[in-house]
């Protein structure tokens, strides 16, 4: 194992270990249990967005099929752990494997049969997601239309009481998923995927085993999505086809990754953090009455409007996402974040911790994006030769467009 991988492994392990003990500190430090559950949900989105992005973001093959892999994960727990009495700990890896099998089978047909253009591949994955949902609905072994109530599931008590247990499960899965994404990015597989992204035919003629690489990445992506789904079933506790296979999961992972930046494993993390904290706050805010009470905008509808708007803005205006800009303008980003928090504290002192964090994020984004543009243009104008900002060596970050 080379040095960067060792550093990465150590870093991730240390961080994960530190967070492992967070639940144990809840009593002594006295923070509300809510934060553990919020932490779990954030870790859930880290895993979902990362797993999706490790294939789509790196290879450029846009998959709308996240719902299928997540759904397989959820329903594996539903069927094995709830209906068949398996302990959750046993169901989770099976879920991952089943999701991976689905992904590999789909990949085998789709990647082999035709070199499918981007939009056609996207449609196929969308269709497969709907088919999986339909099969689950019609099959009484799986759902049969009545949903599954996840009570009496054997939970891994050794991980702690409910919130601690969920937090730790989420932590393990998010950690391995993100670690996998980071490792892929810097490995031969990552190089292969990025070159496929730019020009698959040329990549193939330069020795990249394109079929094998796409299969590996797609299979891994599905595996982690399934693992994460299997755990999340417990959180949902009553799973139905409509809820599990709704457009929500695929939509959110897309927006999170597009927002954060798709060519780097940190992108989905940044995107998931911003979107999840934002939607969480909006969900808890009270309704807005407009037009004299005729139109009630419950702020969770505002959620969807903001998500949609963000997607549109990012795709049109900020194509490579926030992460490359954060990396180039660390100090502006950090400064703007602090400014955001300070403004929130002054203006709305009773705002919750997460609320302040959101304010900081918004501050960072709102200030970072335009100032990043301004600084770039100013530097371009000032310099006389070529590009003033040499992009970094690594294929993912930096050299954009």
């Amino acid at each position: 194992m080379n040095r960067p991988t060792v550093v990465r492994l150590t870093g991730f392990s240390v961080l994960a270990l530190a967070l492992w003990f967070l639940p144990a500190l809840q009593g002594p430090l006295g923070f509300p249990i809510f934060y553990l559950l919020f932490g779990y949900s954030l870790l859930f989105w880290f895993a979902q967005a990362s797993s999706w992005n490790m294939f789509t973001g790196f290879s450029g093959y846009f998959s709308f099929g996240q719902g299928a892999f997540y759904g397989v994960g959820v329903y594996t727990t539903g069927v094995l752990a709830s209906k068949q009495g398996w302990p959750l700990i046993a169901a989770i890896p099976v879920a991952g494997v089943l999701a991976a099998v689905l992904g590999l089978s789909l990949g085998f047909v789709v990647f082999r049969l035709r070199r499918l253009q981007g939009e056609i591949f996207a449609l196929v994955t969308l269709a497969v997601a709907f088919v999986v949902a339909a099969i689950a609905r019609v099959s009484s072994t799986i759902d049969g239309g009545s949903g599954i109530a996840l009570n009496n599931v054997q939970l891994p008590e050794f991980l702690g009481a409910y919130p601690s247990m969920m937090f730790r499960l989420g932590l393990i899965i998010a950690t391995v998923t993100i670690f996998a994404a980071a490792t892929i990015q810097h490995s031969r597989l990552g190089w292969g995927l990025f070159s496929i992204n730019d020009d698959e035919a040329v990549a193939e003629s330069l020795g990249v085993p394109t079929f094998r690489h796409k299969m590996m990445a797609f299979g891994l992506s599905a595996f982690f999505a399934g693992l994460s789904g299997a755990v999340h079933a417990i959180q949902i506790s009553y799973i139905t086809i409509e809820d599990v296979f709704s457009i929500r999961i695929p939509l959110f992972v897309i927006v999170m990754s597009v927002l954060g930046g798709m060519r780097h494993w940190m992108g989905p993390i940044v995107g998931a953090t911003i979107i999840h904290t934002l939607t969480d706050r909006l969900n808890r805010a009270s309704d807005l009455e407009l037009f004299g009470g005729n139109v009630t905008v419950s702020l969770d509808h505002l959620n969807d409007i903001i998500i949609g708007l963000l997607l549109i803005l990012m795709v049109l205006a900020v194509k490579d996402g926030l992460w490359p800009r954060l990396v180039r303008r660390k100090w502006v980003g950090a400064g703007a974040f602090i400014v955001g928090i300070l403004v929130a504290r002054l203006w709305a002192p009773e705002m919750s911790l997460i609320g302040q964090f959101v304010a900081g994020e918004l501050g960072a984004v709102v200030i970072l994006l335009p100032s990043s543009e301004v600084i770039d243009r100013w530097r371009n104008w000032r310099s006389t030769t070529g590009s003033p900002d040499a992009p970094s060596d690594r294929p993912g970050v930096g050299a954009s467009r």
Binding site: F62, V109, V110, L113, R114, L116, G118, E119, I120, A122, L123, V124, L126, A127, V128, F130, V131, A134, I135, R137, V138, G145, I247, L251, I254, V255, V258, V295, T296, V297, S298, H301, L302, N303, D304, I305, I307, G308, L309, L310, L311, I312, V315, L316
Partner: protein, 290 residues
């Protein structure tokens, strides 16, 4: 046997409606190289508009077309102008209109809530009326939709074959850059075409409001109808959309009757996948030489 016979009839009639629902996406994708998911919202909002006018203002459901279509056409044309202005790419358009779809669905939910909204039978006498021939029923909304679709199909065919505009459309569909080099004004053609497509979508929405209950989630459910029709019929082909609409309609109806309503989307999506894998240019287009 009559059960299946009725299913086939319902399926064929539904095919007309499906074709009208899909025409927007098909033309937009095939000719303008823009995958415009906003059409799903146009259908939905047109339906809700018709519902409002019929329910709260007593309009005859058929007449609501006069109010609903112009609004949707304007929105559709403006959206197209926006796309022209930002020079949107094919893949970007998919994501951007996906965002739009989410936003518009949310707007619908804010105004009309997630409950089912159906024009009450007092305001909508057509829902229960039908033409009866022998043992078979031809429900009025579905029959009118089908006939309208045929008329639209013939009009489009005339437009495409006999007018300058039609030639411009076909030229753009085949080779965009060459067409522009020969003087085809892309912006004008695009805006007019998207206006026509939006009109069809709005008409479809009115018929839907006439025949079933509306709820915001319908837009995404329609993926299972529109995408199979668009791909099976061939991108940009009006008559292809009609033919594919009928095929999908009949397939869904038979699956429904044979195994249950939950099997309908299963059937249509399986058809979509099979088409994408084995004949992505569609059933009705000549196979391009590779």
């Amino acid at each position: 046997m009559t059960l299946y016979g009725q299913a086939i009839i319902s399926g064929v009639l539904a095919g007309g409606l499906y074709a009208m629902m899909s025409l927007g996406v098909s033309l937009s994708w095939g000719v303008l190289k823009i995958i415009n998911l906003a059409y799903f919202s146009f259908i939905l909002l047109a339906g809700y508009g018709s519902y409002e006018l019929a329910t709260s203002h007593g309009w005859d459901p058929f007449v609501t077309v006069l109010a609903v279509v112009p609004v949707v056409v304007i929105v559709g044309a403006l959206l197209q102008l926006f796309f022209e202005k930002v020079k949107i790419g094919e893949f970007e358009s998919l994501l951007v209109t996906f965002g739009l779809l989410i936003m518009l669905e949310s707007v619908a939910r804010s105004i009309w809530s997630a409950d089912f909204r159906r024009i009450p039978s007092t305001a909508n006498p057509y829902a229960s009326s039908s033409l009866k021939i022998g043992d078979f029923a031809f429900p009025t909304p579905q029959l009118s939709a089908f006939l309208t679709a045929i008329v639209i199909g013939l009009l489009m065919k005339y437009l495409l074959d006999r007018t300058y505009f039609g030639k411009a459309v076909r030229a753009l569909a085949q080779d965009r850059d060459m067409a522009r080099a020969f003087g085809v004004d892309h912006r004008r053609v695009a805006v007019i075409l998207s206006g026509l497509a939006a009109a069809t979508a709005a008409i479809a929405g009115v018929f839907i409001a006439m025949s079933q209950a509306l709820f915001p989630g319908l837009a995404v459910e329609w993926f299972g109808i529109v995408f199979p029709v668009v791909i099976l019929g061939g991108l940009g082909s009006t008559l292809g959309a009609l033919g594919a609409g009928v095929v999908i309609g009949v397939a869904a109806a038979i699956a429904s009757v044979a195994w249950g309503p939950s099997y309908a989307p299963l059937a249509t999506f399986v058809i979509l996948i099979a088409t994408l894998l084995f004949r992505p240019e569609g059933l009705f287009t000549r196979k391009a030489s590779v």
